[in-house]
């Protein structure tokens, strides 16, 4: 073993099956570790709960994203097409007021405004889902200390990793390594910062 560096990111244990990684994450959580993360080539059922994470709040964000899309299209069409209650019209700027009389139909012909409202609700929820997911996950982040471990490149193919991070209050290099080795991993390695 090489000399201990003062600063490391964490201690990484490598496993070869999903069953092992879930068991390892459960044991680590029960042992009191809180700052850790498990990595896998594909989503493993309930792994995030084994690590100790809670359900994501993303769906709530998406709901408000969709609502924003709906109201954007609703107000855009209603105000520009002159469909708002008439006492509001004097307050609208000229560039936002363009009542179009199409075949004598009412200015507030709201059923005709439904398709764009629906489409924008979908568009905004999709944007919220995708970019919300990326931001919450902290992507894009092209560099990460874990990439310093050569074997970590197996994580996208067929390897499963459990990393207990150095910022965990229970972390100490010898003790954590000893704990991880007790989980019977394929290999344990230090992650340089």
């Amino acid at each position: 073993m090489e000399a201990q560096k003062p600063e490391i990111y964490g201690m990484l244990a490598e496993f070869t099956t999903p069953t092992e990684i879930v068991a390892a994450a459960n044991k680590a959580r029960e042992a009191g570790f809180s700052k850790m993360e498990a990595y896998s080539p594909f989503p493993v059922e309930d792994l995030y709960e084994a690590v100790g994470f809670k359900r994501t709040k993303l769906p709530i964000l998406v709901f408000f994203g969709g609502l924003a899309g709906f109201f954007t299209a609703f107000s855009l069409q209603t105000f520009t097409m002159g469909g708002a209650p008439s006492f509001l019209n004097p307050f609208l700027p000229d560039w936002f007021y363009y009542p179009l009389n199409i075949g004598g139909r009412p200015l507030n012909s709201w059923p005709a405004f439904v398709p764009p409202e629906f489409e924008l609700a979908v568009l905004f929820s999709a944007f919220t889902a995708v970019f919300g997911m990326l931001l919450l996950n902290g992507y894009p982040r092209l560099y990460h200390p874990l990439f310093n471990v050569p074997r970590f490149s197996g994580v996208t193919t067929d390897r499963f990793f459990l990393c207990i991070e150095a910022r965990d209050p229970l972390f100490d290099i010898q003790g954590t390594r000893h704990f991880l080795e007790g989980l019977k991993p394929f290999e344990v390695s230090e992650v340089p910062q």
Binding site: Y48, M81, D94, E119, V122, N137, T157
Partner: protein
């Protein structure tokens, strides 16, 4: 070998747990197989295919250039048929795209796991088909450099688009559809880009795919958010795909023309879109599994399922035609009746109507026969016929414009050389993009395929041996390592 087939045969029908990945695969071998296509030397067949597609693409460029130079007078459109090949092909291409979203979104929500191996290239097909479709309305504008006038934005002219028009709804629907499909596709690709990054030897390839992978590490919480986002995208794409073709059908149905002003239009347009889309997926899947040796992943079961969906949607479409004919009679409206009988069925393009009935009504009925569904070549040919049939459908619908209420304003439409060359050219665009996709991107969703393997499931102590679907799991995994 023969005993293997005998063993599998009954399970194809009865057991939903039938492996959709050929036996003998491990996590490693799936990555190796799919990424091998990306990282290997360019095959000669690919070069030839891409060269041909690229030449076809030049036909499109020449056609569009001449169109911009001369104006849409070079097309066959005129009064009374103001919409010709451009809208026929617009609807045709966008309909083809719909199968991709159906596979990626609707089948995901219904837990149809067989979608996994075909969803990636079906989504690519969606994007490229929508790109081809989007070209037509833009080209038809005559002055495409003002295309942004379609968008609602505050401008110095203080003008706004006509939000009550189905054509403006189209702008929202098609642009949303393209954007959401692109997001869906890209998000699904991110973990696979990470896999290419980690497997590539060349630093340049690592660098380029690494950028697109956004630094993907596969953390458990990342996967959880990823899956949540993916499911939400599927949830919003499902009504989206139905709305897009509904709105496309509104282009016709909201007008007051006989033969167009019908409530059957939205449902049968959507069914027709999925129908032609699945035909195109089969047309792409058969050569892909053949030339890239992907029969382990795109199995006969996949083709069989797709053929069944084609049969179902094809029958809905045929039902739509019959309802159209019946409603024309039952409405007792002389214009509707004339349109149906004297214009469509026995009109100047009557032959096209009967060809349409043949292609969409009768040919797909062969899919009731199991032997046909498991016969690659027959499926490929039936799918081609279906695509022709769906093109004819849009042609027949458009030709309603030839004869409206006043005989004095009747006319006849025929496409010009430039109509045909533009259509031909969009195949060049579509195929060139498809070839590039097969060469540069993982054409099968790697992480989702891994999830299909029995060994991807977590065994919770005591119940590991009981599940019959997973009984052969240890043998598979062990046999490979």
């Amino acid at each position: 070998m023969a005993s293997d087939i005998k063993e599998q045969e009954p399970s194809l029908r009865s057991d939903p747990q039938v492996p959709l990945v050929a036996p003998g695969h491990s996590f490693e071998s799936i990555s190796k197989k799919v990424i091998g296509v990306v990282l290997s030397v360019t095959p000669k067949g690919w070069m030839i295919g891409f060269a041909i597609s690229f030449m076809m693409l030049q036909v499109l460029l020449v056609s569009i250039t001449y169109l911009l130079y001369e104006g849409i007078g070079i097309w066959g459109v005129n009064v009374p048929v103001g919409w010709g090949f451009d809208i026929i092909n617009f609807v045709w291409w966008i309909g083809i795209g719909h199968a991709g979203t159906l596979i990626s979104a609707i089948l995901l929500l219904f837990h149809q796991t067989w979608r996994t191996s075909i969803n990636r290239f079906a989504e690519a097909m969606t994007l490229f088909a929508v790109a081809c479709a989007g070209l037509y309305p833009l080209a038809h504008m005559g002055r495409p450099w003002f295309a942004y006038w379609l968008l609602p934005y505050p401008n110095t002219m203080q003008l706004w688009p006509q939000f009550r028009s189905p054509l403006e709804w189209d702008v929202f629907a098609v642009s949303t559809y393209f954007t959401v499909s692109l997001l869906f596709w890209y998000i699904g690709l991110v973990p696979d880009f990470g896999n290419i990054r980690d497997r590539a030897k060349s630093p340049w390839i690592r660098f380029i795919y690494g950028i697109f992978a956004l630094g993907w590490r596969g953390g458990s919480m990342h996967w959880h958010r990823f899956e949540t986002a993916y499911l939400i995208l599927a949830g919003v794409s499902t009504p989206l795909v139905l709305s897009v073709h509904t709105i496309v059908s509104f282009d016709f149905a909201v007008s007051n023309l006989p033969g167009w002003h019908a409530t059957i239009f939205p449902p049968y347009f959507v069914a027709g879109a999925i129908y032609s889309g699945f035909a195109m997926v089969i047309n792409l899947a058969v050569p892909i599994r053949h030339f890239y040796g992907m029969k382990d992943f795109i199995t006969d079961k996949h083709l069989d399922n797709m053929a069944k969906i084609m049969l179902a949607t094809g029958s809905m479409v045929f039902y739509g035609y019959m309802v159209e004919a019946f409603m024309a009679y039952y409405s007792a409206n002389p214009f509707e009746r004339d349109l149906m009988m004297k214009n469509r069925v026995f009109g100047p393009y009557g032959g096209f109507y009967w060809a349409l009935v043949f292609c969409n009504g009768f040919v797909p009925q062969l899919l009731w026969i199991k032997r046909v569904r498991s016969w690659e070549a027959a499926l490929f040919i039936i799918s081609l016929i279906v695509n022709v049939g769906m093109w004819l459908e849009r042609f027949v619908i458009l030709m309603s414009l030839q004869r409206d209420f006043l005989p004095s304003s009747w006319g006849q439409y025929s496409p010009t050389f430039w109509d045909l060359s533009t259509y031909f050219g969009t195949f060049g665009l579509f195929l060139s993009l498809m070839f590039l996709f097969c060469r540069l991107l993982p054409m099968i969703a790697i992480f989702e395929m891994k999830h299909m393997l029995p060994e991807s499931h977590v065994h919770k102590g005591d119940d590991s041996g009981h599940d019959p679907g997973h009984a052969h799991a240890p043998k598979q995994g062990g046999g490979h390592q």
